[in-house]
């Protein structure tokens, strides 16, 4: 609610408790359940993004110095297309799904009915501050829930804009924004939610899940990981390099959960790949990338220092083959390529989340597949190849949230694909219909009549009854008939 940011009241445990009480009351009134309410809210989310595009782009630039084009592609257009899809499909998503029944429950009919989980908490991340707050919210609203949104405090301009616009355009009795950082988030996490949807780091993901465990609240955790790019030699190199560079440096300068983290290629091919990358980087960002307006900044000095530490590591500093320039005052960091850093270096063990791109060389690409999963299953893994066998092996053996062949990051835009992690990269998935399902309970419904009551079900039990039951339960019509006439 507007009150939280305007009056600057401390949002403590008590405030969280009364917020929850208010939302439970509104949810119980049934307000969020109707198709009309959901459609009205979704249309208003669309309005937020349409009518305030400039404000949004300005806020994101203020927070991250992200180029307008990146913000448009990655944040505004995806929110719009999620709304459009939800509005177009909502009727279908809300319909009960009829399912078959067998002779075991004959006569009966059955269906699965979707219902909202109730009051849900969505915690957004800082790297795509509008998208990662509104996109899950679209799913939650479409599914008929009451929602509390906690945008990332590392993007104060965007967070406060979201609070203002949501307060203005959406039904604030059911959809609220709480701004703040650790204290406010902790206060929220103490409450009993019907679902918590979190995007962020594994470390904070654990804190969220631990809080959820106290109330047995189901969670969705969209985390990250070291997303590898395996590059084969027999490929269209210029196209591949553009796609790799785009996924890495045109995605918030590497600060994205599905950005390529490191490259694996053959010893023979590495020089060509590196040359092509350098060439593309110069075309995109000029001779002095720190002067380019097309490169997003590092979000804050903490993360800047973290990246500097990865580079200043003794084992690594001699391996820089391109870039490395940085400007601490302006939080600018140039695209940096490293070659064959040791596997035990920091840069190869932590998720980089920045513009450093290590390239590891191997003799045979297939040998690298096991290495990928041994580092913890990443959110995404990429392969560039024209070799069908290699493709098949990759898809079969590499476990990750999602895989893309011959491109990077694009699966995020394909709404018929579930987007989520596995293992260290997360729990649950969303996008498109998966967003709707992430915030729904699919309730099983069985309809029975009173005709045809099988007395074999009831005590006193007997061998004959048992025979009949066995036949019924096996689903065998013949068996049932035989049992009934005493032949089995």
């Amino acid at each position: 609610m507007a009150e939280d940011s305007e009056t600057k009241k401390v949002f403590d445990a008590e405030a969280a408790g009364s917020l929850m009480k208010e939302l439970r009351g509104t949810y119980a009134s049934g307000k969020t359940r109707s198709y009309e309410w959901r459609v009205a809210q979704l249309k208003n989310v669309m309005k937020i993004v349409d009518d305030h595009e400039k404000d949004i782009l300005d806020a994101i630039r203020a927070d991250l110095s992200k180029p307008e084009q990146e913000s448009y592609i990655a944040e505004i257009s995806i929110v719009k297309s999620s709304c459009t899809r939800a509005l177009g499909e909502l009727n279908r998503w809300m319909k009960p799904e009829k399912v078959k029944t067998s002779i075991t429950t004959f006569p009966s009919s059955a269906e699965i009915v979707s219902e909202p989980l109730g009051v849900v908490l969505i915690i957004g991340a800082w790297n795509f501050p509008l998208l990662l707050a509104l996109d899950p919210a679209i799913g939650a609203i479409a599914a008929g829930n009451a929602v509390v949104l906690k945008p990332s405090e590392l993007c104060p301009a965007t967070s406060s804009l979201i609070a203002k616009l949501v307060g203005k355009y959406l039904d604030s009795s059911c959809i609220k924004v709480v701004e703040g950082s650790v204290a406010e988030t902790s206060a929220l996490l103490e409450q009993k939610w019907d679902k918590i949807f979190f995007t962020g780091s594994g470390r904070v993901g654990r804190i969220v899940m631990a809080a959820a465990a106290k109330h047995l609240t189901p969670v969705a955790l969209e985390l990250g990981g070291k997303c590898p790019v395996v590059v084969d030699s027999d490929i269209n190199l210029p196209v591949a390099v553009r796609r790799i560079a785009g996924g890495k440096w045109a995605s918030n300068n590497g600060q994205a959960c599905i950005a390529p983290d490191y490259i694996i290629t053959t010893k023979d091919f590495a020089p060509k790949l590196i040359d092509a990358l350098k060439h593309e980087l110069e075309a995109w960002y000029g001779k002095d990338p720190l002067e380019s307006k097309d490169l997003a900044h590092i979000v804050n000095s903490n993360h800047f220092a973290r990246l500097v530490k990865l580079l200043d590591d003794d084992k690594v500093s001699g391996k820089i083959i391109h870039g490395g320039q940085r400007d601490k005052a302006n939080l600018k960091f140039a695209p940096t390529i490293l070659l064959d850093v040791p596997e035990d270096s920091l840069v190869m063990n932590d998720e980089i989340f920045g513009p450093l791109l290590p390239i590891l060389t191997v003799d045979k690409l297939e040998d690298s597949f096991d290495m990928i999963t041994s580092r913890g299953k990443p959110l995404a893994a990429y392969l560039f190849t024209n070799n069908k066998k290699l493709k098949e092996k990759f898809v079969k053996t590499v476990s990750a949230g999602g895989l893309v062949i011959n491109d990077t990051v694009l699966h995020f835009a394909e709404k018929t694909l579930p987007f989520g992690g596995v293992g260290e990269s997360g729990i649950g998935s969303y996008h498109g219909k998966f967003s709707y399902e992430a915030f729904s309970h699919r309730k099983s419904v069985l309809y029975r009549g009173f005709a045809g009551d099988a007395s074999a079900r009831y005590p006193p039990y007997s061998d004959r009854k048992l025979k009949l039951l066995k036949a019924l339960l096996s689903g065998s019509v013949v068996g049932v008939i035989l049992a009934l006439i005493g032949w089995s």
Binding site: T416, K443, S444, L446
Partner: protein, 399 residues
Amino acid sequence: MAPKKSSMPLIFFPARGQVLPEPLGLVLIFSSWNFPISLALDPVIGAISAGNSVVLKPSEQAPACSSFLANTIPLYLDSKAIKVIEGGAEISQQLLQQKWDKIFFTGSPSVARIVMSAAVKHLTPVTVELGGKCPTIFDYLSSPSDTEVAVKRVVGGKWGPCNGQACIGVDYVLVEEKFAFHLIEMLKKTIKKFYGENPKQLKDISRIVNKHHFQRLRNLLEEPLVAASIVHGGLIDEEKLFIEPTILLDPPLDAEIMTEEIFGPLLPIITLKNIEESIEFINSRPKPLALYAFTKDEAFKRRILSETSSGSVTFNDIMIQFLCDTLPFGGVGQSGFGRYHGKYSFDTFSHEKAVLQRTFFLELEPRFPPWNDFKLKFIRLAYRFDYLGLILLLLGLKR
């Protein structure tokens, strides 16, 4: 799984998306004591069909079954990939320290919290199948034969499954005041018919699992106002761990018997002025694993469906939804999260991996920096699927 149709803007053509299920890896399954074979093997079947390695920890409160599983499974299944570990809380704690790719738990909320909290360390996804107070709405049925069938189903659904010790068994009944007496009479008659004059002989009825639960149930009954509300049964035998089918009429709503899951052969009948009040009654309590309603009123059925929330709803029968494996089986809220049975078992132990295939053909420039106005216009039009606009832009005719 079949490739799905691509829905991306045309500038990304051609793209082919698929979802491939793959095993999660190494899964841990905890089963409970009340249906010690099925609640152990059913999830194991799902885990195996999805291609996982499995460790099964059967409940120590059903020791003979636990032993049976531990001795028999290695004789029939691949013991390099499927193992049974027996033991109690200490063994469970040790198991929970390991890094699992999934934990599947059937049991009580208090232990589920321990399991989920342990899963946090490794960000292990969990499914928890709990229980709750499964209410049974008993509306007036005009046909006496329907009523007779309904009563049989309630009795069978209360005392049939492990003598009330079942997560989806009938916990309590809601009925209109004016029919309560008649219902109780019919219940008594049916109990006698099913279990005979002397149910203590334990023919066709289970006993209470152990002393701890026996004591718990006895305590529920011993609350003074609760004891006063007993209208049938009440006989207990500690030595035999026997509690006979017991019916209570309107015990106090704040007594433990009405605030905690009973999990035993005690059946409270709660009377209402109007059967529609049952919806509010149920909604003011935690969401149960199953909700039952005996009614022929279609409007009432619709209200129940849309205004209450539970793992599942079954109309005019009890427990039988468990046998329909096209229906997902699982809870919501206090009754748990996650689901299984049929294909849902396979899904619950799988990771649905998204795979997007692209070719190198048809690369479009406007996707990448350096940015300029033309590229931004192009992207806006492309994402709006405005192909005419795109063509005009390319021809230099759009401002």
